[in-house]
């Protein structure tokens, strides 16, 4: 097919190809490796044997139809999975080579290094915009030596929200639009300086305009950290990610079918099921 050689600008493969990064960008952040991750809810095996590398400074998109285990998987990466009663897991998740599930690990330290942004914007309604940004320091009982105003400006700028809120930092966060709230949540995650940022469908509750702003933010952030993003939107995966992993639960537990550079995943996937999914034949 001709798309292999000359990607169409409007096709997913074309979008993904246009995004391929110039070599020479020094990767930053930390690498994350999942090794044989299984996840259960009670006796129900929801995710089977996922091994996936997230190289430092890359953006990896997790795609797949609903119920394929991609959200479950991303929640095992910062130990949020265990909040669901009866949830269990097997396997290892290595941050800088160290298993985050190793006994004697302080789970709060793990979550400081691996931040998370949720599907629904969830700023703390009792706090102001400024307090929300700095909430992580208070919550994790960290003493911050630097200037907190500078930190606030820096993180809000990185999240692409500074210009919109700089005059009302002491207003309550509930007055922001959904997209602004989500960027505030991103800023809040950045304030504790994580090495990895997990995003679980961060744009699914937002309008297209806000979605583009968030994607912009992701592109900016990917210069300084490792990002894993779950998305239902394949266009989004093509626009923002370096690598794409396709998940599928074919009646049984969720599995990772295939992973590869995003442009290849959308132009010439190796697995027929991936091909069917990215070409819109199901899901």
């Amino acid at each position: 097919m001709s798309t292999e050689n000359t990607p169409q600008p409007n096709s997913l493969a074309g979008v993904a190809a246009a995004r391929v990064r110039e070599p020479g960008n020094a990767p930053l952040g930390s690498g994350l490796e999942a090794r044989g991750v299984h996840a259960w809810f009670g006796s129900h095996l929801a995710l089977e044997n996922v091994s996936l590398d997230f190289a430092a400074g890359t953006v990896t998109a997790l795609i797949g139809p609903s119920g394929c285990g991609k959200s479950t998987f991303i929640r095992t990466l910062n130990r949020m999975h265990e909040f669901i009663p009866s949830a269990a897991m097997a396997g290892e998740v290595l941050l800088d080579g160290k298993d985050i599930y190793a006994s004697g690990t302080d789970v709060t330290r793990i979550r400081l290094q691996i931040g998370m942004v949720f599907q629904k914007p969830n700023p703390f309604p009792s706090m102001t915009i400024g307090e929300n940004v700095l909430a992580g320091l208070k919550l994790a009982q960290i003493k911050y030596d630097g200037n907190k105003d500078d930190l606030m400006e820096e993180t809000l700028t990185r999240a692409g929200l500074w210009n919109e809120v700089k005059d009302r930092l002491s207003a309550h966060a509930g007055g922001l639009s959904g997209g602004q709230q989500q960027r505030l949540c991103i800023a809040r995650s950045l304030a504790v300086n994580p090495k990895v940022l997990l995003m679980d469908e961060p744009c699914s509750a937002l309008d297209p305009g806000s979605t583009l702003r968030i994607e912009d933010t992701i592109s900016q952030l990917s210069k300084t950290m490792t990002i894993v993003i779950v998305t239902h939107n394949m266009q989004q995966a093509a626009r923002v990610s370096d690598y794409t992993a396709f998940f599928l639960a074919d009646g049984g537990p969720g599995q990772m079918i295939e992973v590869g550079p995003t442009n290849e995943m959308f132009s010439r996937p190796k697995d027929q099921r991936t091909e069917n999914y990215v070409s819109g034949r199901f899901g």
């Binding site: 949020m80 009663p85 793990i110 979550r111 931040g115 919550l139 994790a140």
Partner: protein
């Protein structure tokens, strides 16, 4: 101005009615009668107290609320000379209730936080049952226990408090008499309000939105950090409402306080000192041997208590229901 606009003619809104079947009408009538009956009973009690006590209000005027003296003497001529004032009882009731809240609310809130965020499922179920059981425990048993077991200990604690904090005015005592003090009554009451305050707080904390809890944990929050930043702000108004429901109970509690408090008609601000006042207990103490005029005064006292508890409970219910609504 409006003459330039074209008037829109809208049809009359239609009444949306249905013809109910007889069975429905009957059931509805029964329900109506039942649900209004409790209101009616409450109104009847209030009306009875106000009506029968009216004489005492009239004779003693505003002094019935403010004066501390309570006396009724039959003179040589066979005429009864009386003066009734509730001042000591009202202040005593409020003082004891305050002590009860001061001790009981922190205990209850911490218990509720433990049950909601820390306790393993099994322990939680067991503890909730025990705490709820505390509510149904007869109050005379609290009173007897308070009198026999708690009183000697509380006297010792009172002495300790006095020794180290006696320089604070209300913690001082005119003479070393620590028995049967408002402090002791407050401790007994604090135990009795724990169930209601705990269960209301627990219900509020359990409604803390999961997404906010997760947001906190995802930021590396410690459990204490999460509680401080998310659960407490969310549950604050509910806790206040629960505390006020506890206050409602503390104001009206009778037998337990009667068993441990030395009731004297003199205003006492020294909470460690061995006498105090309490409206409900005072009524129990006096009613059996009261003369006709004194009975009127006691019914009037009952009316005062009735209004106080009603007000506190109404405010508490409003606060609680508002807290529950604003949480969603």
């Amino acid at each position: 101005m409006s003459s330039t606009l074209i008037e829109r003619v809208l049809p009359e809104k239609r009444a949306l009615t249905t013809k109910p079947r007889p069975s429905d009408v009957a059931f509805r009538t029964v329900l109506n009668v039942m649900s209004y009956s409790s209101l009616l009973i409450l109104a009847a009690i209030g009306g009875f107290l106000a009506f029968r006590g009216f004489g005492a209000f009239k004779e003693n005027g505003f002094g019935f609320i403010t004066h501390a003296e309570w006396s009724s003497i039959v003179g040589d001529n066979g005429k009864e000379v009386s003066s009734f004032g509730m001042g000591a009882m009202i202040t005593g009731t409020l003082i004891i209730a305050t002590i009860a809240l001061f001790i009981g609310v922190p205990l209850s809130v911490l218990t509720a936080l433990f049950l909601t965020f820390y306790a393993p499922e099994r322990l939680k179920r067991a503890l909730v049952t025990v705490v709820d059981l505390m509510a149904s425990f007869p109050s005379i048993l609290y009173g007897i226990w308070g009198f026999i077991v708690l009183a000697p200990m509380a006297t010792y604690w009172a002495k300790l408090v006095y020794k180290y904090l006696g320089w604070i005015p209300f913690l001082s005592v005119p003479s070393p008499a620590f028995d049967r003090s408002p402090f002791l009554a407050g401790i007994v009451l604090s135990i009795m309000i724990i169930p209601i305050v705990t269960s209301v707080s627990r219900e509020i904390f359990a409604q803390t939105p999961l997404e906010r809890i997760q947001a906190a944990y995802a930021l590396g929050a410690t459990r204490w950090g999460m509680i401080r930043a998310v659960a407490l702000p969310f549950g604050a108004s509910g806790v206040v409402g629960g505390a006020m429901l506890g206050l409602g109970r503390a104001l009206g509690e009778t037998v337990a306080v009667y068993s441990v408090l030395n009731i004297v008609f003199k205003i006492n601000w020294h909470i460690l000192y061995g006498y105090g006042g309490n409206i409900a207990s005072m009524i129990v103490q006096k009613f059996g041997e009261a003369s006709f005029t004194e009975k009127k005064a006691l019914l009037a006292a009952g009316f005062v208590l009735f209004v106080m508890t009603l007000l506190v409970n109404m405010v508490a219910n409003t606060v609680v229901s508002r807290a529950v609504k604003s949480g969603k």
